[in-house]
Symmetry: C2
Subunit: 340 residues, 2 copies
DNA sequence: ATGAAAGCGCTAACAC
DNA sequence: GTGTTAGCGCTTTCAT
């Protein structure tokens, strides 16, 4: 029924091992037999059985992807397809396949990861988001299994290869941009504090203010856990303060869109009444009104570098631990104005 | 080094086959030995090698996912993560894993699919988008390999199990909604004609107009191939016609956002000057200004049903061909007004 | 440069 | 109810 290496061997009048060598493009096979075997493969429509190959070779040429929880907001964020593009391109170039894990809870995800690692389905793993106290990364570390984290590790930062932006600096610069425009009342809107990226960006925000000698006010710091519901309310409260901010740094374009929306309802004009700097610079940023000044963090590159380096680690087990910092740049559009 | 079924067998004082039966939870094993074996597995930290299992059992418990070309606009569309959520939930429930294929060109994608099918990496495939003259679906059909298409097949519609919306009717209703509001000059903005979904929606648009006795004007039909560049221009031309439309049906929320943007630049107010009905009802639709009246097509369900039915097909090879139509509904928001 | 043979870790007859 | 055994399709020594 299914055509195996033996069938090819028979037709080509060689041993199965020779066929195997042809597949691996071994240099110790004469060009002549190579052609002969290839013709036979062609003729029979032969395709190697990957499971058999994986079983004996103890490698799979596939990379495991750990997605954020499927009921997470992150899943809806355009960040996600873009980083996937980068990962997939990095994998494709080296002929690696992609295996996905998802799950609704942290536990489901961890279980799925354990299954795929212990079951020898993958040679390495890319973690798509860095969460505080992430169990998956702890497990992989203990297991000494090759993996790369996109984002900043919660702990053991010197020992986990990761690719990240310098989010502290990036947000510091974003905040300073507003400072230079004359703003003194700048609020921060970010996602859940469970995400390392939120923590770093908050950090950068505070640093910028401190350096400028401006007091960091707790009421100016908002964490929108939910994209829609929570957000609306939070923005309303923020703008209802005795001393409302004149500018906002928002940790994500998608979030910024929601903010823009709420502001519109409140009759607050951007950038005339309020300036906004956002983050990530996804397609959305230029499609919103006003188009958002946003920090481009090179999402594609995050994914691409993560995969490239994971493959390096897989193929060379003494590849050193690396910390790859992807560059960012502020893209000015129309959501900011001078404060007078 | 790695612990195998034999090690477990030895420790538990049983035969390897018994261990295998315990894993498969065979009813012919006494509760007592089951416990004994499970303890041994626990103690040794045993995990089954999936490749070995796949090799002999000729099944993989994994589903292949065929994504749109990674350089495609579709990739950026929020449709994509949402449908993935549905797929992943359907798979998870039946303990199926997910294997992804991507590629930059149609050819790369086809090759990747052939590899994963012939290599016996997956038991079935779900195709995420339906394109005109899609080679992947032709290949799978010829190969008689289980697959489900999300969207409407280009050909052999009676012979390909697919899950789709009734896009013709949905767009017809959307158009009629505008008709009922008094609009007589309604234009259509859709994606590339390479996508079946575009064709169907265009069809529904034309049907609605015809039934209403309104002439379908070619200059009212716009296909934005590129989300940004092309779109801007197309919308401008449309609004610069001698008789510009008073309403728009747009085949996608993401596209609608771009349209909204261009209209704003042109100083055209929605819905006062122009009404818009959009499609898909992703999160974006309620975050835009004005919030978009959009046809909810139940994206999650598309993915979920596709996977569920694929698994049925995998597990029962005489499962009949099915055509699953997912319901839709118009969600009214603020992008439409009566025409006076 | 090529062949023979062992075995990767598992399942599934077939015995008993 | 459990053990024995023969592969699944491939790669990889070890010969020659």
């Amino acid at each position: 029924m299914t055509v195996t290496i033996k069938d090819v061997a028979k037709l080509a009048n060689v041993a199965p091992s020779t066929v195997s060598r042809v597949i691996a493009d071994s240099p110790r096979i004469s060009e002549e037999t190579k052609q002969k075997v290839k013709r036979a493969m062609e003729q029979l429509g032969y395709h190697p059985n990957i499971n058999a190959r994986n079983l004996v070779s103890k490698s799979t040429q596939t990379i495991g992807l750990v997605m954020p929880s499927s009921k997470d907001v992150g899943f809806q964020n355009p960040f996600f397809p873009t980083v996937l593009q980068g990962i997939s391109e990095g994998a494709q170039e080296k002929y690696y396949a992609l295996h996905m894990t998802t799950g609704k809870s942290e536990k489901e995800i961890l279980d799925a990861v354990i299954q795929m690692v212990e079951g020898r389905r993958v040679d390495g793993v890319v973690l798509l988001t860095s969460r505080v106290r992430d169990q998956v990364s702890s497990y992989l570390r203990k297991r000494k299994f090759p993996f790369v984290l996109i984002g900043k590790p919660y702990q053991d930062i010197e020992e986990i290869t990761h690719v990240d932006n310098d989010n502290i600096r990036a947000m510091k610069e974003a905040t300073e941009y507003l400072l230079h425009l004359g703003h003194r009342h700048i609020a921060f809107i970010g996602g859940t504090r469970e995400l390392m990226v939120t923590l770093d960006r908050l950090d950068g925000y505070e640093k910028a203010l401190q350096e400028a000698g401006i007091l960091v006010k707790p009421e100016y710091i908002v964490h929108e856990e939910f994209l829609r519901e929570g957000g609306q309310e939070a923005v309303r409260e923020l703008m209802a303060l005795d001393e409302p901010p004149t500018a906002l740094v928002v940790a994500d374009d998608f979030m910024a869109l929601g903010v823009l929306n709420t502001l519109d309802e409140l009759g607050i004009q951007v950038p005339q009444d309020l300036s906004i700097v956002s983050f990530n610079n996804v397609l959305l940023a230029e499609m919103s009104r006003p188009p958002l000044t946003s920090v481009d963090i090179n999402i594609f590159e995050l994914g691409y570098q993560a995969t490239k380096n994971l493959i390096l680690m897989i193929e060379n087990d003494k590849e050193p631990v690396k910390r790859l910092i992807i560059s960012h740049r502020l893209v000015e559009r129309s959501s900011c104005a001078k404060y007078n």
